[in-house]
Symmetry: C2
Subunit: 226 residues, 2 copies
DNA sequence: GTATGATTCATACGAACGTTTGAATGAAGA
DNA sequence: TCTTCATTCAAACGTTCGTATGAATCATAC
């Protein structure tokens, strides 16, 4: 990979994360990378090709790591269902670690991902999702065997809640103090918070919340104070 | 409010939700609303003004309802900390109800909100956040009194996890079967799932997940199968 | 009927965009 | 040294964008 090609990827990652994808022009990117405007079209065929290359560069290693972790845990468990914490660790730890390893670039990329994730109707979204077909299949299976009393629908829902929390963390990490990691503290604090939250949420018993009762209570407490 | 003005708001809501804000042009909006291109600038002063008007029309009622609910629950509790389910119901139920009441338009608006929420660096985001200052303050206070053993940072984090799950639900509602509500089932199923998940997550004890131990287990299970 | 003010209309403007082109440049092999 | 091929470059293309303009249209009050 030539210098220019890599500098373009790095600059695109940074600027997409800072301003958004649609809001970042090829002129912004090439200027930031100190390359010619035509370089993007020469190396990647266009803006979409550049996004694709961005995905391929980062998703591959992270998702490989996730599957490797899940495989390892499952092999060690010899058939018994995995503790939720291990499943969630296998899902959450790789992207967190990658962010640490890549520094600012990693944070930037993850925020790009969070943006795309929140935009299911964008043109790039189908391509984006294809990188996660196997991930989703494998983790759903692991969760199903660890949570036999939960319906498939509910498992899928709660798995997505966890994904959402992770994405939110990446997306707001630089804007909210509660997600910023204190340098004096161990780096894994946010990760453990996320795993604890998601594990507790996954373990929640279904049917414990009676929305109708809450709705009834609502009409009692609001009608007297119109 | 004139017909044209309202039709513009409706069309903008729909198209912003479908394609994204940056990806939707004023020409798209005015064509969909069967209005003249110049109508947006005449009625709202520009694209930004239109977005502002969109926020004002929807956020006001929803947030009023949230505070009214929280006030009612707190008044009924006479000083004792609220059950988490009541706090979460007060936070989640109003937008869900609004979506039901508004039909497709409501779903559209909530997806617009989810998009903006996932984009903390957009120009509109500051304006967007100002609508939630009081909401955040009040709900943080309620959670703090119901979860005295949790640090402020951790409460803030977990509150955001819940928000993220809600946003994800709105954002992916039309793209994932698990969030689509079966018409034959009571409409509150997703809402109760969300409340159960978030309540369990909020109640999770801190420090139960040892990331270091998981990391150690990881190196054991992965090093033998290189 | 006519005057007035609000609204709608067709049209145009300048800027910014992604993309294309063809020449210039540079390093490597014959 | 000359050739070759990948890369870089400045410049331009056509499109689409948000915005502005001034005339046309409409409703309403006098």
């Amino acid at each position: 990979m030539t210098d220019t090609k890599m500098r373009l990827l790095d600059s695109a990652e940074t600027l997409f994360a800072e301003r958004g994808i649609a809001e970042t022009s090829l002129r912004d990117i090439t200027a930031h990378a100190e390359a010619n405007l035509a370089a993007v079209n020469y190396h990647f065929g266009g803006k979409d090709g550049l996004l694709e290359a961005l995905f391929a560069r980062r998703f591959g290693p992270v998702n490989e790591e996730r599957l490797l972790l899940l495989d390892g845990f499952e092999a060690a468990a010899t058939g018994t269902p995995l503790p939720l914490e291990q499943i969630l660790y296998a899902n959450f730890a790789p992207p967190f670690r990658r962010i640490d390893a890549l520094g600012d670039a990693g944070q930037a990329f993850m925020r790009v991902v969070a943006r795309i994730n929140a935009d299911p109707s964008s043109s790039i979204h189908q391509t984006f999702l294809r990188h996660f077909d196997e991930i989703r299949r494998r983790f759903h299976a692991a969760l199903r065997s660890s949570l036999p009393e939960l319906s498939t629908t509910e498992i899928e829902r709660r798995f997505h809640y966890g994904i959402a929390a992770m994405m939110h963390t990446f997306c707001w990490g630089q804007h909210l103090d509660c997600f910023r990691i204190d340098p004096t503290e161990p780096r894994e604090r946010v990760l453990s918070s996320l795993i604890e939250y998601a594990a507790a949420g996954l373990r929640a018993a279904r049917g414990t919340v009676d929305v109708e009762a809450l709705s009834e209570l609502e009409s009692q407490v609001t009608e007297v104070t119109p």
